[in-house]
Symmetry: C2
Subunit: 344 residues, 2 copies
């Protein structure tokens, strides 16, 4: 297929090639909004793709990276209040700064919106945290930039992925509870979707149960959202309606803290009455009382690795496809929220 040229875009839009170039390179202050709109419309209609490799070769790098963070449910704010994301950002920024890159941090509503941002800012690449609808990823590909995904199990070689083995993490957490004599182990989780992080952790939970010869009981799975508030609610329900449950695997530390709080409200203490294990090892995990037993991932290190892979992809020739996902290690950190259950 013949490549669409800037000249064709300028003819279609009825503006000068210089104006097209301004818009494509994000110098939108130089032209009127009307021109911007005309050029974008022409780009869309012609399916024009900026010649990223040529731009790279010319050394016209912006040294600017887009970092996308999921937003709160009402889309009003970034989820940066979840320490998991802020620790990732720490790792990303430190690595980028080392190479003279800067980072634009933002939330995003739709992939198309991000297409605009990246064109306007002439981004060199992007790191996407969180999980989005499939159409978002399809839109992202139109950006034609190197992109690193965190938290996604999407099967598409277009994207670079820096993840952890969530199935293994779920397995390790549940096994630790079982190894401590617990047989009635609940799972408190966010929405379990096909190929999502939650599903993997859920599968690990089931594997550990099966391996220990324990039946999987759907009543022990509390599934809603990955939030402190839902953890609280699940903790209350467990305390009030499931006195048989002696241990909880919470899919994130924030959820685990919520579970502990919900249990406490109902008069049940951790770890004396119920054992709880979390996932992530956010910095708060060691600061709370009792300090949280959890599956640790090096969150800052993961951010740093995501930046590393992105910089590598930017430097490499355009031809090279993303390699295999980078899988960061997970380890069990034993603190004070899991108690050995001695047979009565």
């Amino acid at each position: 297929m013949k490549r669409i040229t800037i000249r064709e875009v300028s003819e279609k839009a009825g503006v000068s090639t210089a104006a097209v170039s301004y818009v494509l390179n994000g110098r939108i202050g130089k032209v009127s909004q009307e021109t911007v709109d005309k050029v974008r419309k022409a780009v869309d209609e012609l399916g024009y793709i900026p010649d990223f490799s040529a731009r790279s070769l010319a050394g016209n790098r912006s040294k600017l990276i887009g970092v996308v963070i999921p937003q709160t449910e009402d889309r009003k704010q970034l989820l940066l209040q979840n320490p998991f994301y802020s620790e990732l950002v720490c790792g990303i920024e430190a690595r980028l700064r080392q190479s003279g890159y800067h980072m634009i941090l933002s939330g995003v509503d739709k992939g198309e919106g991000y297409l605009d941002t990246s064109m306007q800012r002439n981004l060199d690449g992007a790191i996407i945290m969180g999980i989005y609808q499939e159409s978002f990823y399809e839109d992202l590909k139109k950006v034609r930039l190197p992109i690193v995904l965190i938290d996604s199990y999407i099967h598409d070689s277009y994207f670079h992925v820096v993840g952890v083995d969530d199935e293994l993490g779920g397995y390790l957490a549940t096994k630790h509870l079982i190894d401590n004599g617990h047989t009635a182990v609940a799972l408190v989780t966010g929405s379990i979707r096909k190929d999502g992080v939650m599903e993997k952790r859920f599968l690990g939970y089931k594997r550990a149960l099966k391996e220990a010869g324990l039946f999987y009981n759907p009543d022990y799975v509390f599934e809603d959202s990955v939030s402190y508030e839902y953890g609280q609610e699940a903790g209350r329900v467990i305390a009030e309606k499931h006195p048989d449950i002696t241990a909880v695997f919470a899919v994130s530390d924030m959820v685990a803290l919520g579970v502990i709080s919900g249990l406490a409200e109902a008069g049940r203490h951790v770890p004396d009455d119920v054992s709880v294990i979390g996932f992530d090892d956010i910095s708060v995990a060691r600061m709370c009382h009792p300090p949280l037993t959890t599956i640790r991932q090096d969150i800052v290190g993961r951010g740093s690795m995501a930046a590393e892979r992105l910089l590598q992809a930017i430097t490499d020739s355009e031809e090279s496809l993303p390699q295999e996902p980078t899988v960061m290690p997970l380890t069990l950190v034993q603190r004070d929220t899991v108690r050995r259950l001695t047979p009565e």
Copy 2:
């Protein structure tokens, strides 16, 4: 004084005016590093000041804001792991996005470095968190951008300030402990420097003591760094060497959590043995056990207000000097870490 022109810079640097313009507008991909260096040298030597207002009038806005966050002590990472900063960033980003602005989030070692960044990126303004050496602020002024400071009591009308009344906060916290019957009240604080946030909170602490007719005892002031780790250390020392202390005002929630942990290690419980009040009301304050009594500031709202003031300053004409500092409200939030001390 006659204004230096771009032409004079180009003559001094021995490059074209177009090249000077590229460098000043951050299009450094268009010219060689040698040219960039020459132009910057000429700009420095001539004391050239970019005509910000003219640029604004021409509508050549980058719609890009710099947000500076302090770094960890080893300068390796952003202090974003401190929820205070990540919550501020949430508020800033949400407000900027609403007006179609983006944010470059970074740490910075010296003011001069930030001068480079802001020129290179053609920033429209900046929000600076944390407290820096005086020379940093002097350097910042050379950037000739609207700048909003958070956490600073610097007396310079060049800067916009969005703060809280830290003296009042220190007073309210200490008074709450005294009102609950405590007379031996410790202060755990970061380094107390003239005109700094810590000094103000310290002055509030002293005012409350004085008002209640209590003597100020320097042995009750534990001064080092604003960190969870120092809080822990102070908690241990209080437990071991100061059995007379029945209440602690910690200058931040992170410090308070550390104090509670240090006390617990030494077998003293909050609030049964010692009462603790924090400052900030970061989201973790309500999640920890026991939930923390604290002086609440609306951190997200403060970030949002900082962005609001900056956008205002960008829109306003260059002539208008910053108004008075915006002072955000503080309120006492009573949770479970302060106990009423009944006379024996």
